[in-house]
Symmetry: C2
């Protein structure tokens, strides 16, 4: 079986197992057999680390149901990291010689490309951050809910934040903690680091270690590192400015708070579309402009190799660099003085075409099954599902069963990736050596 | 002055002259000085062959006002063709040797690339189609409105259809003629041929002449021809099926008519987003799904070298071919067994990035200036303005002055093209010969 098919079927298998577990009477809080659609939706949402939910997970599911959701989200989140990293080693990620030497020197061990070791390192990173996050959240939850419930809440939200899964056990998500520095910065920290990609964290760790040990190495940051960190920072900055400028005049979201509270909200709303799915304001009450900006940010999504979804920050940068290149009349696309291969540009175009196509298709279908909904609510929900974000204007639970099934498919397609899914369906590419004559074409 | 600056300033000049003419008392039907915003909006809409209107042109403007609109639309429409053709000869359109010989043999004259002759040929084509259109429309308008008014209506709508300008002198646009075969097929024929590009019409003419004269030439259809015609046909087919499937259940648009009338409506609604702007149903009454499909079709737009706007059919095909290529694991992007140059792919990406950016930017601004509007109404209006379509859900006249100014800018940017405008602002590209090392990047 091809790699792409293995991945696609692997996710389907985990979703199926999760659905069966969540259908069991011990998974629901009232002890009855669960509605199959609710179980399927929740399992898909968890495995795809989306966080959209047709029910309130905190009251609908028993402790066991909540634990299954957490495990499914952890498998899904680890899946993101390991799958991507596995694929990288598989396609033979091309470091240049200087980088390879630098990385190996920094690691002090030449066996870096050994996949078992990479996997172990990813799991270790995950555990370190999730445990740290849990400890940081304890002071926020234990005083109010006691040790038993408080610890569970801290574990649940820490793991959900790191994996960008976005399930919350609070009825109003994290709105109750909108002004808590501790909760806001712990959660956003986990979201950003979990979503920025394992490669980036590894490089930052190596750099930091060398600085602390005052070692002199010629460690060169990879292009992935530079693009992921710079794009994430730019998007966060734009987001904070935009949400602050737009929503402060909206009394139902930012308006009632003081300046410090508004900045905290703007920060959280800027982080969460990349692609966490937690919210500290009522998304359904946002202005049209705020919702549309959120949709755009959700669609861009996180960085590759992390736990987040979307079309990815790197894809965006490749496309904007193409635009810059054509405006400068050049032929070589550059990013940080590195040439971008044509195949990479084609892949970026493919990702965007496939993603836009899928979003348009799902949006039209839901517009047909649920014609009473506002267009922006449908588009918001579809992009949220596709980019595995999990934010919602509040319609998830009330849409028709057909729309729920469409959202389930959208989450799955968005999770495995349009290109990977197509490759799984069409079979592996067979390269050809025939060359064709070139011809010009009028474009744009 | 650079070519891009000449074009940008040229359009601004025509818009300014048009605004002054439309402000004059003899341009309005009540003989008073016109509102500057109305004059500016109408002049921009006419020169950019958009057809969006903040007033009802049939009653608001005098005969002279209507004539100015027609002349501005004609200048704008010819501008599309000549500007593009001029640019093609300027950038030294690369025909391969076989094509060049074939074209020259077909034309029986080697001076084909002479721009004066091309211009003359474009004007002749325009006149032939506009006059034919006028004659075909006469039987529809003269019986009802008499010779004077009927002739004027025929001329006005024929010229507007060919130039994809979309202004109508009827209060309800062409809804009154939704079941008239003559009007529907004359108008849609003009729209399609005007929007498909001069190059395509020329090649079709040469092919037809050779067939009729039973001459044997080795005329090879250009890639432009193949891509423009096939994509136009595919989109029209999809449009008819989609609108028929969706809107037949909507009693306010298709529902009240019989099957033949519904097919005629589906055909017209499928043609008009590419990018004519006439309508035979009340756009504001369409379903959400129908509106969204129309938005997508408007954004794609017409073929380059014609009178239509949008991101262009060829751009879409280059992008879908890139997607196909990456799925097949190839490096060379092919269209009809011709290789697409990397610079062309970059241009296509640039067009899409610029267009999407502009649409998002304008949409957010109008969502801020007019927060009470439905999101889909705003998006529809902005895409309609940007792709110079002219369809509207009916809000054009009632939006705030700020929103009107945003729409004016959007029409202008959409008309001259984001890339051309950027080139005009940034100055001409200065190619460099420095080569950079290549580096891989995680995408999507
Ligand atoms: K999520
Ligand atoms: K138009």
């Amino acid at each position: 079986m091809t790699v792409s098919r293995t991945i696609c079927l692997g996710f389907l298998t985990v979703i199926a197992v999760g659905t069966i577990l969540l259908m069991m009477p011990f998974s629901t809080s009232d002890g009855s057999w669960n509605d199959p659609i609710v179980a399927l939706f929740t399992s898909t949402s968890a495995v795809c680390v989306t966080g959209l939910s047709v029910v309130d997970p905190g009251t609908y599911f028993s402790f066991w149901g909540q634990l299954f959701i957490l495990l499914l989200a952890q498998i899904g989140g680890l899946g993101y990291m390991t799958t991507t990293t596995f694929l990288i080693t598989l396609i033979g990620r091309k470091f240049n010689l200087r980088q390879k030497i630098a990385i190996q020197q920094a690691l002090d061990r030449p066996g870096m490309s050994d996949s078992t070791q990479v996997l172990r390192s990813i799991i270790a990173t995950t555990l370190i951050f999730e445990i740290t996050g849990t400890f940081l959240l304890l002071p926020a939850f234990v005083p109010e809910y006691g040790w038993d419930q408080g610890l569970w809440l801290a574990i649940f939200h820490s793991i959900n934040a790191w994996n960008n899964a976005g399930f919350s056990l609070f009825k109003d998500n994290l709105i109750g903690y909108q002004s808590s520095y501790l909760v806001v910065f712990t959660i956003t920290g986990l979201i950003i680091l979990g979503g920025i990609g394992y490669q980036v964290i590894l490089e930052a760790y190596l750099w930091l270690r060398d600085r602390l040990l005052k070692r002199t190495t010629n460690l060169v940051f990879s292009l992935d590192f530079k693009v992921a960190t710079s794009t994430t920072l730019i998007l966060l900055f734009i987001g904070v400015i935009a949400f602050f400028a737009i929503e402060t005049r909206n009394p139902e979201t930012f308006g009632s708070l003081n300046l410090r509270g508004q900045l905290l909200l703007a920060w959280f709303q800027s982080v969460t579309p990349r692609t966490a799915g937690f919210n500290t304001i009522d998304i359904g009450k946002m202005t049209t402009a705020g919702l549309f900006i959120t949709i755009a940010m959700m669609f861009i999504g996180a960085s590759p190799g992390g736990t987040g979804g979307g079309m990815k920050t790197t894809t965006l940068r490749v496309l904007t660099s193409c635009t810059k290149t054509i405006l400068q009349g050049k032929e070589e696309v550059l990013l940080y003085e590195r040439k971008i291969a044509v195949s990479l540009i084609l892949k970026a175009v493919g990702v965007v075409v496939g993603s836009v196509g899928m979003v348009i298709f799902s949006t039209i279908l839901i517009a047909l099954t649920d014609p009473k909904l506002d267009f922006i609510q449908i588009l918001f929900e579809v992009v949220s599902a596709f980019a595995t974000v999990g934010l919602s204007t509040g319609i998830t639970g009330s849409v028709s069963i057909a729309a729920k099934l469409i959202l389930i498919v959208t989450m799955y397609v968005g999770r495995v990736g349009v290109l990977l899914l197509m490759a799984a369906v069409l079979g592996d590419p067979r390269p050809t050596r025939i060359h064709y004559p070139e011809e010009n074409l009028l474009v744009g």
